[in-house]
């Protein structure tokens, strides 16, 4: 009879994913591809924001979009209408994408002619924050109807984002939304995050957001 032995591991459960994510990030850097991981609650306007973003940047960069959802392909169809390359990923019930799924998605998208790749993560403020996708940068959208207290309730999501877009600012007066308080709440969680108020519907703020992305994509391509 073999003897049972105790083996000390002392390893985070996320470390396997973190390793895969770092490897993917390094490969993307090597290829000069910028991958944005876009996260938010359901209904915050991710797909509308993306279509406006693509319109603003499609003459400058070749763009590819991966739409991740539990089911359906309505988002990928909407993105395809802009002329950008788009594929739909199904997570099969999972509430987030991990680095392995992101890699599969990129292979499916075929990034050989893509300079700006965007992953629209599953609409959820909890789980996507835990699993590093391997993206170059993380962005999230907080929409006005959700309320300015979300950074307090979902601290991890806000702490890992490089940029926070505050969307639907056109309806601020109807929701008693305090923009300054919202910015304060975000900065409390993450002093480094860039905060850009936008309205995807009217196009307000989209130029500033596109400028941020432009700088990032050029940096990934080794252009100043």
């Amino acid at each position: 009879m073999d003897k049972v032995k105790v083996i000390e591991i002392k390893q985070s459960v996320f470390s396997a994913n973190d390793k895969q994510a770092d490897a993917l990030r390094a490969e993307l850097k090597e290829k000069g591809i910028f991958l944005l991981n876009l996260m938010s609650s359901p209904g915050s306007g991710k797909t509308t924001t993306l279509t406006k973003t693509i319109e603003a940047l499609k003459d400058e960069f070749k763009i590819g979009v991966m739409e991740a959802d539990i089911d359906s392909d309505v988002d990928a169809k909407r993105i395809a209408l802009t002329g950008a390359k788009a594929i739909q990923l199904h997570t099969g019930g999972m509430c987030h994408l991990d680095a392995g799924m992101t890699r599969q998605g990129l292979e499916g998208l075929d990034t050989s002619d893509v300079e700006l790749a965007i992953l629209e993560n599953v609409g959820n403020l909890v789980c996507p924050a835990e699993f590093d996708t391997g993206a170059t940068k993380n962005a999230m959208i907080l929409s006005v109807p959700e309320g300015e207290d979300k950074p307090l309730k979902y601290p991890l999501m806000f702490s890992i984002c490089d940029v926070v877009l505050i969307n639907k600012i056109d309806v601020m007066p109807y929701f008693d939304f305090d923009l300054e308080q919202c910015k304060k709440n975000i900065r409390m969680r993450n002093p480094r995050a860039e905060i850009i108020p936008i309205c995807a519907k009217t196009g307000e703020g989209i130029e500033q957001w596109a400028a941020w992305l432009r700088t990032q994509v050029k940096a990934a391509r080794g252009e100043a």
Binding site: K3, V6, I9, K10, A16, M188
Partner: protein, 114 residues
């Protein structure tokens, strides 16, 4: 299901270790779960029971929890406090200039194996 992803992640890690160390069977995994890790042990347990059945070397593997208390440190008054009771705001001086020292980790501490 956030917990399901974590369970898959644990199983991947253990299977890699088993391969490296030539283990034939893993009978238990001890997991340290921080109080503010956003992982719910009861859900984790349910996912675990389902997922290990699909493995080769972990079919009967038990999952053992060890909770870790969450502690936050205040940079202004340099005291610590229980995160779960007071959140981001220091109960000693009222500052929000605080950070979590321990309590958001989900870590595989050890395994028992043949």
């Amino acid at each position: 299901m956030h917990e399901l992803g974590i369970v898959f992640s644990i199983i991947d890690t253990i299977e890699d270790i088993a391969k490296e160390q030539n283990l034939s069977e893993v009978s238990s995994v001890t997991l340290q779960v921080g109080e503010v890790s956003t992982v719910i042990p009861r859900y984790l347990e349910d996912c675990w029971k389902w997922a290990v059945k699909k493995t080769e070397i972990m079919k009967e593997c038990k999952l053992i929890h060890e909770p870790i208390e969450a502690i936050t440190f205040c940079e202004d008054c340099e005291k610590t406090y229980r995160t779960v009771d007071f959140g981001k705001t220091c109960p000693h001086c009222g500052s929000e200039n605080t950070y979590l020292v321990v309590g958001n980790e989900v870590q595989i501490k050890e395994i028992e194996a043949l």
